[in-house]
Symmetry: C2
């Protein structure tokens, strides 16, 4: 059997996405100073989705949620990570990210690449129950990390309660139960003095 052109494209994609392991996030591992990379982050979100899916506001297709969180940061191989509290840069679905999606998922056989781009676009749009729950995971993980790290990235200049509250309230769209827990963590951050009141 001749190795099909299709399989070779898939293998090429598998090699290309290895680069996500070099994309460093601002957020640090739990109880740690070591920055997390996008592969580790994505792995953790997938496990969170598996463990916490019962709290989704609406029943979700868990496989789709898991696919979303596993691929959501692949575009950062080209576009880089943007700090969520950066006020100067756009945060989602920028032109650079759309180009990255076309290039990287475009390595795959056409239909498969289009399917993954559609899942990534659905995540970015945040309108379906799956996207809302996936986005809740993406906001909850760094909240747990910062709580464990004496504030972590909350210590960056210009980050305060109001901003954190606003960014994290996206969790509510995915899960009111997890949002109630998240709210308590944010409030506790202020009480503990690891999150500036204003």
């Amino acid at each position: 059997m001749t190795l099909s052109d299709k399989l070779l494209k898939q293998i090429e994609f598998i090699k290309e996405i290895d680069k996500i392991k070099y994309v460093q996030r601002k957020t640090k591992l739990f109880n740690s100073d070591r920055p997390e990379n996008d592969a580790e982050h994505s792995w953790h979100l997938a496990l969170m989705a598996i463990v916490l899916s019962e709290y989704a506001n609406e029943p979700v297709d868990l496989l789709k949620v898991v696919k979303m969180v596993l691929i959501h940061d692949i575009v950062e191989i080209d576009a880089g990570d943007t700090f969520i509290y950066d006020t100067e840069k756009n945060h989602s679905n920028t032109k650079a990210e759309r180009l990255a999606a076309q290039r990287i998922f475009g390595i795959l056989p056409k239909k498969q690449g289009e399917e993954l781009i559609a899942i990534w676009e659905e995540f970015e749009a945040g309108q379906t129950p799956e996207a809302q729950f996936a986005r809740a995971m993406d906001r909850l993980e760094p909240l747990l990390q910062n709580s464990s790290n004496n504030g972590g990235t909350w210590n960056e200049p210009g980050v305060n309660y109001k901003q954190v509250y606003a960014k994290k309230s996206v969790i509510k769209d995915g899960s009111t139960v997890l949002w109630e827990y998240a709210e308590k963590l944010i409030d506790a951050g202020v009480v503990l003095g690891i999150l500036k009141k204003d």
Copy 2:
């Protein structure tokens, strides 16, 4: 609403498994000298399973395969990583690994913990189509990495063609198509002089 004991157990588990990011494998990233950690490895296997599932010998429940590869190395938080060509240590489902599974998945609410232990045991046993395909991913990734790294861990003392062939032939149980490709990579390793003939 009082935060349920159940949710707090789940959050505790999510924090505990962060430690997998410190478990270093022998295998290096693609075209790199940097060792891969278990979180990165597990993320990559999940993506491989999603992209390559069409090649499974039998139709598979993809969500189950993805769960398997995402959790298969969590036991190494306690039990450590064992080099696949280590001839002195046992490789799978040792007493230390079973104890680790009980402790770590045991942090979860009882039913959920038991479900994940069952999935891990199924992976280890390697008898179902899902476990066989998941195990194929686990063997294929380092083969791709070593091929890209002038042999990588194939350069370790005592590793030769026969051993690599034997360890990798597990891929065939999950996918004959991927095994044909894997065989070519192994043969090419010998031709290129990056895998010792004997």
